[in-house]
Every structure is written in structure tokens, then in C-alpha cells.
Amino acid sequence: MANRIGRRQFLAVSGAAAASASSLAAAKPGPAVTPPHAVMAEALKYRKVDSHNHVGAGGITVKDIIESADRVGIERMAVSIPRGEKPEEFRAANNKILDAVKQHPDRFIGQCFVNPHYPREAMEELNRCLGEGFIGLGELYTQAKINDPVFFPLIERSIEANAPVMMHARADTGLLRSGFPTEAPPATSVADDFVDVAKRYPDLMLIHAHIGGGGDWEYMCKVLRAHPSIYIDTGGSITDQGMIDFAKTTLGVERMLFSTDCNFETGVGKILAADLNEDERNRVFWSNYNDILRKRGLDAN
């Protein structure tokens, strides 16, 4: 009976965990009451550069993505098409991105996708994209893990060009433990693979894609914690309460880059919901990624 009463009290009025949540709520910026229209106004208040998005494939048109970005107040988007196994295919994907950038230079920043299993062609394509003003490699996908030596020459070229490398990543239980299912290909990068690369190339600006992209974000953050050259982007469809706060306390705001990865409302909403002050919101939404752009000689401004 004592246990039942205790559980009922827990449900009715919080214990320590809820006290913690209350203190977090109290620390949040903005008015005490934020009805729906005020949440929308809050979303539009901040300048935003999206460090990870896509256009031109999967039915995502230039028109639709700009309209979607406008509705949540995103000014600039780094975009890629992570598709194409053969050189002619990844060149075609990057050409589509180049077209989009040329159409809307004030909205899009190119990211260069390659398949590293074609070393010569991949290097030529990286150099071509850098010459066209792309920020760097991204979203690299599941052709090889990021710590596969086939990537090393491309990474070394990226360091030389002050260009970041952004790689798709997941932490499905099935990728981390045997005996559990996952739809992710075996060459999908996990956080541990990024750590290998960061140790080998401490000067590389390495971006672990979308902590909300599926998988165990607590695992991701804990593995990456002690490796400050690795950034995470906040994108992906997962918008778990506490995810961004955990990234902040584990990694630090300076390593967090705003992204949507095509999830516009949740991409912005999860940042607004997090325990970030005004300065921290601005850093995540804008200046952290813009600092990377500036190292490449670009500027979202």
C-alpha cells in the first residue's frame, strides 16, 4: 500500500525529477505564457542558417523547400543530394545542387557528395565543388564509414581547404548491438567512427549529422563528449524533450549546429524548447555554423 501511495503522489505532484524540470523551465527565455501564435513569433525571431538540408531529390523541390524554410524563418540552407554510386551520378547530384545555388545564392550553400570508392573521381569532384564555392563535403552517406581509409585523402584535402566534413550517422540499437534489427546498411557511421577520425585528424572540422536522425542520442553525445573537434548537427525527425539539453551539457553549445534535415518545425521547435539563453540560441541557430563558413572564406551574412 505504501508503494501505491508513493506512486500516486509521484503522478500527481512531482519529485526530484520534476523539480529539476521546473527549474529548467524557469531558466528559459521568453514570456511565461507562450500560446501558439507566440511560439510562431518566437520561431521567426532568430536568424537561422541550416547546416544540413536537401533539395532536388526525393520529391523535394526548390520551391517547396524555400517555402518551408520561410514558414519557420530559415534564411540560408546548406544543401546536398547524398545519392549516386558512380562518378557520373554523384557529379549529376552536385550539378543539381550547383543549379539551385546559382538560382538562389542568397538561400542555398552547396555541400558536395561523393562516393569515396572512386578515389580519383571523388577527389576531382571535391576540388570542383570547392572551386564552385561549396562549403565542403556533405552529407557523406553509407558508401563507407567515415573512418574508412578511403576517406583519408578527401579529409586531408578538406583540412587544407579549411572545409568541414559532414557525415550521416546513426546509433540504432541494431548497429551497436548484435542480434537487433536495423535498416541501416553495415557501412553506416556511428559515433565511435567519428572519434577514430578526430584522433587521426584533430584539425578537421568534422560534423556528426543529426543527433535527432534516429538512434540513441545519449549514446552519441557520450561517445563524442571528449573529442571537441567534432560538431553535431541538431537535425533529424526526432524531437525528444531533453535531447538538445543533453547535447548542451555533454558537448557544449559551441559544438552544436542548427539543422533541420528536412524537418522544419521540429528542427526549430527543439531549439526553442531547450534550456538555451538568447546568446546560446543565436549561436546554435546562426553563428556557430557561420564561423565555419567564415573559415572557408564564406559568410551567411
Binding site: 512531482s14 520534476a18 529548467l24 514558414r71 522544419f264 524548447a273
Partner: protein, 263 residues
């Protein structure tokens, strides 16, 4: 009136949930200008005898009448559930029934499932099915649940078309067959907006509301957040960015459809 049709209190064993109690939930509703939440007790998923969780929830929610409407959780493979259902209706103020076949060891549409759906219908209670509690990619190695496919929920609706249904974490892209879509269109079904998207670009876990409303009608959708699993702001933005919806449609999604559903 704004209503969140998908809220939880209680314990989730695989990750910390902040503010998973009635008082903090009401504080959250106040903060975002939401008048009411339909609440389930997560403990009902994990207790063998779910009825204890229903008693807990009724007692805790009683401090917030009209703000928190308790939805009971029952398992039709556990003894005496019909008696428990009567207690829920007659004594605990239950407004609906949440079923979790993926955790409670039966199949949607089997005899146990249909018996409790029918019993709920007889008592005037709507039945809620939840497609999944968490994205499979982040599911704990201790969590046994498989996704409850939308087509299987539609099969239950086909078998008992006169009952009322609430589909939580509704995954509209999972309604692939025309037959299943037709079944859902005809029935008294509400889909929550946890995976709905107000912007034109749809993606994994985000179906464009414009298309969904076009296909099923605006009266089929109700604002939901899955709080405290998910943040509140994202789910408000899903509705606020839905510019194709006029004020009347938005009001229906925010609360009008839910109010009508419980009448």
C-alpha cells in the same frame, strides 16, 4: 478551446521523462495556452495488472478536473478486465481506453482485442491505439514492442466500424491500401498530429497536413504532442505553419474535433 489528445504521465523505463506528472503537465498546458489534455498513465503499459495504473491516474488527475481527462489502459488478456472497465467508467471518470497490443501480448483484430473494443463501444468509450511509443531506431534493447501498423488498426476498424477510435502517433503514410483509407474515412476516427507537418516538404516522420486533410477531411485530425516524450514547441509549430488551413480548420484541429469526438 485547445485540446492536446496525446499526453502521458508516469514512468518510462528506457529514458528520463521530465515533468511526467499531472501537476507539471497542467503547468505545461498553462504555459502554451492549452485548455485540456487527454492523459494516459505509462505505468499501465508495464504493470501486469493495468487497473492499478488507472486508479493512480484517476486519483492524480482528479485535482485538475476539465484540464486532464484520464484515459484508462487495460489488457484484454488479463483477468477481470470487464469488471475493471466498468469501474473505470462508473467510478474513475475514464473518458477513453488506450490499448497497447504491442506491449500486452495480443494481436490487433484477434478475439481478445475485438472483445475489449466491443465492450468499450457498448459503454460509449472511444478506443486509442498507438502506432509506436518511440522511433524504432532509438528503441532500447529491453523494449519488446514492434510498430503497430496503421493497416492493422484499420482492420480493427473494419471489424467494428461503429466504435470510436483515436490513433496516436498516427503515421498516415502507413495507410497504404485504398481499402484501409476508405475504412478510416468512413469511421469515427481521429488521428493525432504528432507526425503531421504544416510545411510543404514532408519527410520521414512528417506527413504534410495539407495532403492528409485533403485525403481524409479536416474533421479527422486533432492536435497532439506526445508530451513529455516530445517537446511542445515543435508540435505547436506543426499546426502554426499550416498556412493552407484557415482559422476554422485550425480551430477544429486544435480542439473542435476533439470536443465533438467525446460528445
Amino acid at each position: 478551446m485547445r485540446i492536446d489528445v496525446n499526453a502521458y504521465v508516469g514512468h518510462w523505463p528506457f529514458r528520463q521523462l521530465r515533468g511526467a506528472n499531472c501537476r507539471d503537465l497542467v503547468t505545461r498546458l498553462d504555459r502554451f495556452g492549452i485548455d485540456q489534455a487527454w492523459v494516459g498513465n505509462l505505468n499501465g503499459i508495464f504493470y501486469k495488472n493495468c487497473q492499478i495504473a488507472n486508479e493512480e491516474l484517476a486519483e492524480a488527475a482528479a485535482s485538475f478536473p476539465k484540464r486532464l481527462l484520464p484515459w484508462a489502459t487495460l489488457n484484454p488478456t488479463y483477468p477481470d478486465w470487464e469488471h475493471d472497465l466498468d469501474v473505470c467508467v462508473n467510478q474513475l471518470g475514464t473518458k477513453g481506453l488506450r490499448l497497447y497490443p504491442q506491449y500486452h501480448g495480443y494481436e490487433t483484430g484477434d478475439a481478445d482485442c475485438m472483445a475489449i473494443v466491443e465492450a468499450a463501444r457498448e459503454r460509449g468509450l472511444p478506443v486509442a491505439f498507438t502506432v509506436r511509443m518511440v522511433d524504432e531506431r532509438q528503441q532500447s534493447w529491453l523494449d519488446p514492442a514492434k510498430r503497430l501498423e496503421m493497416e492493422r488498426i484499420a482492420a480493427v476498424v473494419e471489424k467494428a466500424p461503429d466504435a470510436k477510435y483515436l490513433v496516436l502517433h498516427a503515421y498516415l503514410s502507413g495507410l497504404a491500401s485504398e481499402a484501409a483509407r476508405a475504412t478510416m474515412k468512413k469511421a469515427d476516427v481521429l488521428f493525432d498530429t504528432v507526425y503531421g507537418s504544416g510545411v510543404p516538404v514532408g519527410f520521414i516522420n512528417a506527413y504534410p497536413l495539407k495532403d492528409a486533410v485533403g485525403a481524409f477531411g479536416a474533421d479527422k485530425f486533432a492536435f497532439g504532442t506526445a508530451t513529455p516524450f516530445r517537446d511542445y514547441e515543435s508540435h505547436i509549430l506543426r499546426i502554426e505553419t499550416f498556412k493552407e488551413a484557415d482559422a476554422q480548420v485550425k480551430a477544429a484541429i486544435y480542439g473542435g474535433n476533439a470536443e465533438r469526438f467525446l460528445m
